[in-house]
Structure formats: structure tokens, C-alpha cells
Amino acid sequence: MFELEFMRLALAAGAVVGVLAPAVGFFLVQRGQSLIGDGIGHVAFAGVAAGILLDVSPVLTALAAAVLGGVAIELLRSRAGAAGDQALAIVFYTGIALGVVLVSAAGALNVDLFQYLFGSILTVTRTDLVLIATLGAVGLATIGLLYHALAGVVVDEEGARVAGIRIGALNVVLGALAAVTVALSMRVVGILLVAALMVLPASAAGRIAWSMRSTLVLSMAIGLGSALAGLTVAYYADLPPGGTIVLVAAAVFCLALGWGALRGR
């Protein structure tokens, strides 16, 4: 399989997203915001539709829409007094409704759209890979720089607020990171499954790890392993890559659940 250019590109893109998505997902899961990736994904769908309608790169319009959606969720939650799940629902439904209207206007209910909904990692080009690798590196570097602050807020949000930490700014950064992850992961697992790659590895790691740092590292390792193993299985068994990657991550979660139960956790 390595002799094929499209598989080498797919494995490289899968590796980047496999590491980035759980790293961002780790903080979302720990803060009880597991479904944010899903909400942002639906806004990204509107972005893809806008890109098709305007004949510009759907990845870029999805990225812009996802960042707006991520920031909107945080602003609705912190400034407009909407509960976390309400803010998510408002953005979620608005995004999907806008997407449906724009897709209809563009007359694009076809294969082009489906590759964003369900992923199309085998069509990743060198240019796509450069974009995925660059933004992935920026995302991971941001997490590395802000790890201590993000972890501190996970441990005690109210305490951090009392200490004068700008929680709102950190939340906006986390929302933007989630948005970038969603936009990059669209080509790998698709909008409909992107949240799974953020949540499943982090949830699995939480069952077997012994500290926050080890949970984060294990999440990234599970995400990377799931992406590479899922692609390999998909190649040899002729299965859809996006769904196979997520099913591998789900299988790892089940194993971790069993392991945790055996150890009494």
C-alpha cells in the first residue's frame, strides 16, 4: 500500500488529524463539552455549502465558518447567558439549516458534498496535506504553550477565575482550536464523524491513564493508532476509511472500558 501516492498522502493526513483531534478533544471531554465538535461540524457543513455555492475552496470556507461557530458557542454561553447545551443547540441547528439552504441554492446535493460529510481521505492532495500539516502543527504548538493554563482550568475553573485568569479568552482559543480541528478532519473522517475522533480516544485514555499528562499523551497515541490502523484495514478490506477509523477508535474505547472495569475504575 505504501507504493501508492494517494495512500502515503492519506496516511500522513490521517496521522496529523489522528494526533490533533484527541489533543483538542482531551480538554473538551474533561470540561464536559464533548459535543462541541459536533456543533462546530454542523456549522462547518454550512461553510462547505457556501464554498460550493461561491466556487471557492470549501475547506477554507468551512474553516472560517467553524471558527465563527466555535467562538459563537462560547459568546452565547458566556455573554448571552445561554446554558452550555443551549448555546450548542442554537449553533448546531442554525448551522445545519443554513447548510441545507445553501446546498439547495448551489444545487450541490451530490458526490462533492458527500465527500465532506463522510470524508474522502483517499483524495487528499499534496496541497491539502501542506495545509493540514501546517495548521495541525500550529494547533499542537498552541496546546503545548497553553497546556498548563488549560489543565489548570480543568482542575478548578472557579479557582482560576478568582485568581484573575482570563477564562473567556482561553475558552475562545479552545473553541478556535476545535474549529480548526473540525475543518482539517473533514477530509479524513467527514463532518458527521469528526467529533468521534475528538472524543473517543480521550475517553478511552481517561480509563487507563494515571495523570492528566499521561491521559493527553495516551489520547494522542490512540488517535494516531486508530487513524493508521483504520486506514490500513479500510485499504485491505475495501471499507470506507472515515467510518473504519472511528470504528477502530470505538473498539479501543471498549477495550479501555474493560481494562478500567478490571482495575475497578
Binding site: 478568582v162 485568569i165 492528566m212
Partner: protein, 241 residues
């Protein structure tokens, strides 16, 4: 010589709705180095009082000052050590004791980059002070309720606070751990001169160590040394006011 108090509430009134006052005409002053317990029944306004002291809420009427500055605009927040109610802490985060205590250095170390050497030393010192050095790298969720509480106290003191505020620190902690917590706070107060504001639904074990007891039921109904507290009020939930 005029000494700026650590906390000063002057004629403070507050309500989450305009027609329903949670606090009414509250006056409270904590000098630097004092150890004061605030108690009251559930719904009596003590957590609201604490939130106003910390500048998380602004009074509808009156003034709330922290070290002489309006509490909601207090500029030196790193001098505050705060222990939130257990229900608000960490959820299911798989953190170790050291990771929890490290969060206490966040305000001092800044948001960007890892902890510096001095921060790590202060974290170790705080862990040692609460007697958890043997389990410093153990996951918090494997420890008893009392030990978990000590880890969060270590987090609060890791910031080297001038004012330590504790909200219901004994909830879910057994009687023995309550006694040891009270004795620990007394040592902290005596050794380091930290001002302590201890908020709870009952005075409990800490009553022996504090200089003042404050009983809140929408307004302050008692403020004085423990020996002057009328017997019937030792249980703050008592209906006779």
C-alpha cells in the same frame, strides 16, 4: 496609623432578582492576619457574601473592598487563595495531586509556557505542608475525601496567598479529617500570618481556633469572639434567631 483591612464590606445589599434580596445591609471587616469563620443556614446568603468578597458579584448597594480596592476590579488577584466547594472541582479529571496543586501557580506563572523551577518548588512545598508528599504523584481520585480536600488546600496555598478563602471545606469529609483540617488551618494562620475566611453551614471543629465567628442570615446576626456566641446559635441552622 490606618491599616487597610484585607476585606471590607460596607452596607452591602445584593439580590439575584430585584425583588428578592439575598443580603441586606451587611457590614464586615477582616483585618490582615485574622482567622474568621462565617456560618449560616443553607440559603442564608453566605456563598453570595463570599462571591461578593472575591469580586465575582457586585453589590447592588454598598461597597466591597479587597485590600482597599473595589473587589470586582481587584488588581492583585494572585494574593488570593481560594478553595471552591467540592462539587465545583475537577469533575472526573484524572489529575494527580501534583497536577492539582500546580494549578495554584497559574496566576503567578502566567498562561503561556510550562511552570518555572521556582513554581515547581513552591508546588512541592505546598504538597509537603499538607502532608501529601508520599502520594504526590498518585491520581487524586484514588485518595480519600479528606486527602483530596488537603490537595485542593495545597493548591490554594501554593499561590502564597495573603487571603485564603474556603467555601464549605468540610462537606463530604469525615469528623476526623474535619478536626485535622481545622488544626492545619490554625498552624497556617499562626506560622504564615495568612488571613483566613472560612465559610461553612456550621462552625464545627474550626470554632476552637478562630478569632471571630460571623453568623449570616440575610444580614449579619452575630459577629464576635466564639465565647460570646449564644449557645442556641452554635448550630447555625437553628430556627430561633
Amino acid at each position: 496609623m490606618h491599616v487597610t483591612p484585607a476585606v471590607e464590606l460596607e452596607s452591602v445589599s445584593f439580590g439575584y432578582r430585584p425583588d428578592q434580596r439575598v443580603l441586606e445591609d451587611v457590614n464586615l471587616r477582616l483585618g490582615e492576619g485574622e482567622f474568621v469563620a462565617v456560618a449560616g443556614p443553607n440559603g442564608g446568603g453566605k456563598t453570595t457574601l463570599l462571591r461578593i468578597v472575591l469580586g465575582l458579584e457586585r453589590p447592588a448597594e454598598g461597597k466591597a473592598l479587597l485590600f482597599g480596592e473595589p473587589a470586582h476590579r481587584f488588581s492583585r488577584r494572585r494574593v488570593l487563595g481560594y478553595l471552591a466547594q467540592r462539587s465545583q472541582l475537577g469533575g472526573d479529571a484524572p489529575a494527580t495531586v501534583r497536577e492539582v496543586v500546580s494549578a495554584g501557580r497559574l496566576a503567578a506563572s502566567g498562561l503561556i509556557g510550562p511552570l518555572r523551577r521556582r513554581d515547581r518548588e513552591l508546588v512541592s512545598k505546598a504538597i509537603q505542608r499538607v502532608g501529601l508528599d508520599v502520594v504526590a504523584d498518585a491520581p487524586l481520585r484514588t485518595l480519600s475525601g479528606g486527602m483530596q480536600q488537603r490537595a485542593f488546600i495545597a493548591k490554594a496555598i501554593a499561590s502564597e496567598p495573603s487571603l485564603l478563602v474556603l467555601d464549605e471545606p468540610t462537606t463530604g469529609v469525615d469528623a476526623e479529617s474535619q478536626e485535622s483540617l481545622a488544626a492545619f488551618l490554625d498552624r497556617l494562620h499562626t506560622d504564615l500570618g495568612v488571613t483566613i475566611l472560612y465559610v461553612s453551614h456550621e462552625f464545627g471543629a474550626v470554632e476552637r481556633f478562630v478569632q471571630r465567628l460571623v453568623l449570616v442570615r440575610r444580614t449579619i446576626v452575630f459577629d464576635g469572639p466564639p465565647r460570646e456566641l449564644p449557645g442556641v446559635w452554635h448550630d447555625p441552622s437553628h430556627v430561633h434567631v
